[in-house]
Symmetry: C3
Subunit: 430 residues, 3 copies
């Protein structure tokens, strides 16, 4: 019996979104955003016409699919889109014909090394059609004529994305970005938009956010490139920290992908939290990037954006196959990611350069800050407070102090607030 209330809510949202046939564009994505807006108050759903130029790219035509299948010479319907939307290659053009197995094979995709899995394949920028199926099933196909049918359209329309803007006291912004362009896969991708939706709900519930928030639910690559092309100055001038949220639903581990700049507050806080929470985690270099941090961090854009995952895309065996299903993600896994992102945001908001007011150490005893009972534990507490005091010289950030004295930043933050209450310290927010 799980007690992960928020995790359960997130999981239920993922279950509802599961069957929708998402892609770069089209109805499945539009419905996904509409369903997310039930959780995300104020989500602005935007349409970008096909053919819109954005930097070196062009928004592709809109793809919609209604059905797709193969009938074998024996009359069996296989690779049925309605049973699993991974069966049809993404952006397949329409087809309705019969052909020999040999010819059909050019249009089939399977994974010999993972023979039970249906692979996830797309052909966004090369007009084509194809089917994906398990290698075990493919090996049963006999010679003969096959009927193939795909009922899809690829024509001018629009690309759809969602944007939530929450103004804060400062116009400096924290950016969250997640993608909504993969069909029925759970860790990569539903975990991302679902956790992010509940982070939005939490942010919407707070009063007086210190910073403004910009949260994007976009198709990967073309979505972020379009968005950056339209908001470049705003993003460059105001973004103080950002995160691409992806593959955040399983329980195996945590992963952090460095920003291109490497040592931003976003990076250092993520690493600090992973370390001090005692999580099993892996820190990846920007060389291991793979999602929209590629665009946010590109030269000339240069946003301080990190990637955050549980098991990182490309590293777990179910990745980009039908095995990345709802049994891979859990309420506990989702909630762990939610908690991490929440703490990361709170600690960015806490960022400051504390400065002690007294010269020499203050006399803690007369303020009741010195424990009367002298035990090892109380000595440790006093020592931690004295360490915070001695490094609160106005030149070190809260995080630098925490790292230097080897304490979690949330503990140091509490101590600083306590000292501030006693008028011994100024927090000096930036």
């Amino acid at each position: 019996m799980s007690t992960h209330t928020t995790g359960n809510d997130i999981f239920q949202l993922a279950q509802r979104l599961w069957p929708l046939p998402r892609s770069l564009t089209g109805g499945g994505t539009r419905e996904t955003l509409s369903m997310l807006s039930e959780t995300v108050d104020g989500l602005n759903i935007c349409e970008v016409p096909s053919g819109t130029q954005c930097f070196d790219w062009i928004v592709p035509n809109e793809w919609n699919i209604r059905d797709g299948w193969i009938v074998t010479p024996e009359g069996t319907k296989i690779a049925d889109f309605k049973s699993n939307n991974l069966h049809v290659v993404g952006y397949s053009s329409a087809v309705d014909t019969t052909l020999e197995l040999e010819e059909l094979q050019q249009h089939l995709h399977s994974l010999p090394e993972n023979p039970d899995a249906i692979p996830y394949v797309t052909s966004y920028y090369n007009e084509n059609w194809g089917f994906c199926l398990s290698h075990n099933q493919r090996r049963t196909l006999r010679s003969g004529r096959y009927q193939v049918y795909i009922d899809s359209t690829l024509q001018p329309g629009s690309m759809t994305y969602g944007e939530l803007l929450i103004p804060g006291i400062s116009n400096k912004e924290i950016l969250l970005s997640t993608y909504i362009c993969h069909p029925s896969m759970a860790n990569n991708e539903l975990s991302g938009p679902c956790v992010t939706a509940f982070i939005c709900k939490w942010l919407n519930s707070r009063v007086n956010n210190r910073y403004s928030f910009r949260v994007l639910f976009i198709p990967e690559t073309i979505g972020s490139i379009y968005y950056i092309s339209k908001h470049l100055d705003q993003l460059r001038n105001n973004t103080i920290a950002g995160m691409v949220v992806s593959c955040v639903g399983d329980e195996r581990m945590y992963s952090y992908i460095s920003s291109r700049q490497k040592n931003t507050l976003a990076d250092e806080l993520a690493l600090h939290i992973l370390k001090h929470r005692g999580f099993a985690y892996k820190a990846y270099s920007f060389l291991d990037r793979g999602s929209d941090e590629r665009q946010y961090c590109s030269p000339g854009v240069d946003l301080p954006v990190i990637g955050f995952c549980r098991s990182k895309y490309g590293t777990y065996p179910e990745y980009h196959t039908s095995l990345d299903n709802l049994s891979l993600i859990t309420a506990q896994g989702l909630e762990g990611s939610y908690d991490f992102i929440q703490l990361w945001i709170e600690m960015i908001e806490a960022h400051c350069y504390p400065k002690i007011r007294t010269l020499c150490e203050p006399q803690l005893g007369k303020r009741g800050l010195y424990p009367t009972l002298s035990t090892l534990e109380s000595a440790r507490i006093v020592q931690k407070m004295l360490n915070v005091i001695t490094y609160s010289d106005g030149s070190r950030s809260l995080l630098e102090i925490a790292d230097y004295i080897g304490a979690p930043i949330w503990d140091v933050h509490e101590i600083c607030k306590d000292l501030q209450k006693h008028e011994l310290l100024d927090m000096n927010p930036i």
Copy 2:
């Protein structure tokens, strides 16, 4: 039979100071300073009235004690102040009463894990009284009424400290600080003021000290806070290196405690000497600080002050107990510390940025600097001289050159003096 002449002199001074009942204030401390002034010509003994405000602190009342003991129900006198001044808790108020063992226990201190030792306990800022005794003795106490007696006074008076100022050619200063507020304990504390007194004697004997010297014999914490509060600008403007001298009498090892700034000349020289002397030593971070470097290095004071010890306070089993007695310290241990401090001072005075005068290597042979007999040893000597020459580019300090070429700074200093004599090099003192 020891040949440690200076060490023996230091040890004898410690023996004479041993019985005096030192504390933050009072006659024992005053007598201690008076006895030190026999060795330290020019020691200025200062009195600071009780109640004087210094930063966040107030100078406490003066405490004087004449006697103290317990008489057991069996009529035995125990915990007799006159046999060991650790028996009475520091700053105990006067008492003269009888009470049940159960009630007395609230006022007793012992160490179950170190049952032969009398602990050292104080209650400076909480008016109270108490006795310290060995845990073995405490366990023999039987129920019944006990007579307790402490003949002490705690009333307005003054805090006493000693200051020695030796003007040098430069008004830039080297600061030495040691404390004189602990009763009869040897490594922590008598080793500190006794070694420092003999360093003063040596400094007084020199003509033309390059730098000025400021040496303080003060009660710990309140003494340094008071002193800083009165001389802040002078200390901040002129101090180029400083050292807190404490626990410098045993032979077990050497210890260095980093300044808060970490990479000052004081720090780097101390580490260099420890390393190149081949001493067993431990380098502690400023996080392990515990004595007056806490105040000298505090934010806004920011002096380049390190801590120097043999076995560091808090790390050896006899610390703050009656077992820290004269058998723990030796003439050899004291003299090792004396030698270290002397060398540290000499090398601070030697600090410079040597600059070779020739372009390309000078021709050593024509000046007799190249050995005529070519042996491995002579090749090593020439190579060391050429290394000094090649890094004497005016941008590197003597210490940086020594560290870079892996030679002791005193060797590099001799080579530089030799090259200067041949008009090949300028020492460029800062």
Copy 3:
């Protein structure tokens, strides 16, 4: 059967130069330069009069030797200069006398620990005479009168060196320096001038060298000191990278000696090439210097000059003995060094700060830069191109990008040229 064509040519040049009796000055060195000029078009052979002052040094008298030998009491001629020019100590004055073995011993040099080798000994700045022979031979000498004869002259004349200047598009220069002052020894020294001569031949054959080249064939120490003293401003203003070429003929390993500044382009490229070529190599600190980098890097001269060797001088057992003969060097060993220097020069010329032109990633697919066949190898190629793109932000050099993404600089250079061809990137040469 070796296919090392260039290596064979270099080896044959070494064979021709082998017998000449080189020294700091004199006919052997003059003939050596004359023979080198057959390969090095434009080699300017210069004469510097004895007695010329250069910084702290004076050009010595010119030494010429025609013959030298010992006749034993038994009438055997030994230590015959004509059989091996190492037999006579370099710069020996003339002698023609008989003397007892005991007296002769003062003038003999041998190596007890290397008893088959004739040592190489000189006495440039101390007028003297002497013979070198194997220790095994020396041990056979019996008491009696020995006849000794050296037919040499040491008198005012000149010191000879060679200089090649190749103007490039830029007046910034790459400096190569090698020495021509050792008699018949192969790795140290013939490998150096012979490899360098063929590098000159290659440089002479190129059109439009990006940088100018300055190549020096000089006697060690006094040659470089003289040359620096005459061209100090030119060298300081224009040299962007330099290399002392020495001991580059054997096959055992590669060696790099750091410049004094340590992190120059010359240094970092050398290390990068050694690492990415997969060579067995050793990187030496400037503390291990021993050749003319001592002068080029000295304070106030400060050129970015590294040392390059196969087995470094002083580290291999045949060094400075008759065992350093033509059997120690090979066509393959010489050609490996030639290839290394060539690549080092090419990559210095390629030095630039690439800058991508697009914001966000360019769309590689529409330019045919994205492989249509998706394999692990093609994914690796795309990833490498994307890595080059993402770090081509105009602030990182080609070498820094290569080091960061872990690829050879020559691969990164090819990718940049490809992207430049597609107008996606500017090379921004410095």
